[in-house]
């Protein structure tokens, strides 16, 4: 067997489906990181992931402290008032140290790299959202079919 060099990744389409802080950031970091490497990237927000591109919500995403065993926090403690806000502010501080921007600034930055940002048609209809609810970086509301058309020839990453 001869070793052929692996084909470099040229294009990624990243789906963000969750609306917690820790659910949104991995997709944002991967999209930005792709552009830094010269890889074409687009972001598709679906279900609760839409929280990250809704103007009124995007600046208030929280870390989930309940139902997350990796927090090493008993469920009842995680449910105490203020616990999620506390965990969120801790995580935001650590992210700032690593120069990871807040969600709004990060979306602007990613959009400025030339990446495209889309919202899922089915979710927008389900939650009765209007175009005006979204931050200006959103390039459009598209169906699953359009998503696959745009993702053609690249890798799809679901987060």
């Amino acid at each position: 067997m001869t070793d052929t060099p692996a084909q470099p990744i040229e294009k990624v389409s990243i789906i963000i489906s969750r609306g917690s802080l820790e659910g949104v950031y991995p997709g944002l970091i991967m999209a930005n990181g792709a552009r830094m490497e010269g890889i074409e990237a687009s972001l598709f927000f679906t279900f609760f992931g839409l929280e990250a591109i809704i103007k009124k919500r995007m600046h208030n995403l929280k870390v989930a402290t309940v139902g997350n065993p990796a927090m090493h926090m008993p469920t009842l403690v995680g449910a105490l008032p203020g616990m999620s806000s506390f965990a969120t502010s801790m995580m935001k501080k650590e992210m700032e140290k690593l120069d990871i921007p807040p969600v709004g600034e990060f979306l602007t930055m990613i959009h400025d790299t030339g990446a495209e940002i889309y919202a899922c048609r089915a979710t927008v209809d389900m939650f009765h959202l209007k175009p005006d609810d979204f931050c200006p970086e959103v390039d459009g509301v598209i169906s699953v079919g359009q998503f696959y058309e745009k993702a053609a020839g690249g890798q799809i990453i679901f987060t």
């Binding site: 930005n32 990181g33 490497e37 010269g38 690593l98 120069d99 790299t113």
Partner: protein
């Protein structure tokens, strides 16, 4: 170790193909490395990015994040990607004679 003969000098490269020794670097070498990356001419804005990256590396041992680069060098994100269309982090570092940046942002 791989080498590259450029601007009349034979220079050692690291595993990523970047200059192994940043003191080998000079502006003429930067212009030739840029040409290899498909950038025919380095504009004053290219130089602003390259010089900022080198000054941060000199002090801190790693290239700055893109966020810091755009905030402190005076070149915004859109322009940065126009200057280095194949990826600013990796390409600009190579042209600046620095190793590949370690950070994720």
């Amino acid at each position: 170790m791989e080498t590259l003969t450029i601007a009349g000098k034979t220079l050692a490269l690291d595993a990523d193909g970047n200059l192994a020794n940043r003191n080998d670097w000079n502006e003429e070498i930067a212009r030739e490395l840029a040409a290899q990356e498909g950038i025919p001419e380095l504009t004053p804005q290219h130089w602003a990015v390259i010089n900022f990256m080198r000054s941060v590396f000199e002090k801190e041992g790693d290239a700055p994040s893109i966020r810091r680069l755009t905030k402190e060098s005076g070149v915004d994100t859109k322009t940065l990607y126009q200057l280095f269309p194949k990826g600013p982090a990796k390409r600009a570092a190579r042209i600046a004679g620095l190793p590949k940046p370690k950070g994720c942002i």
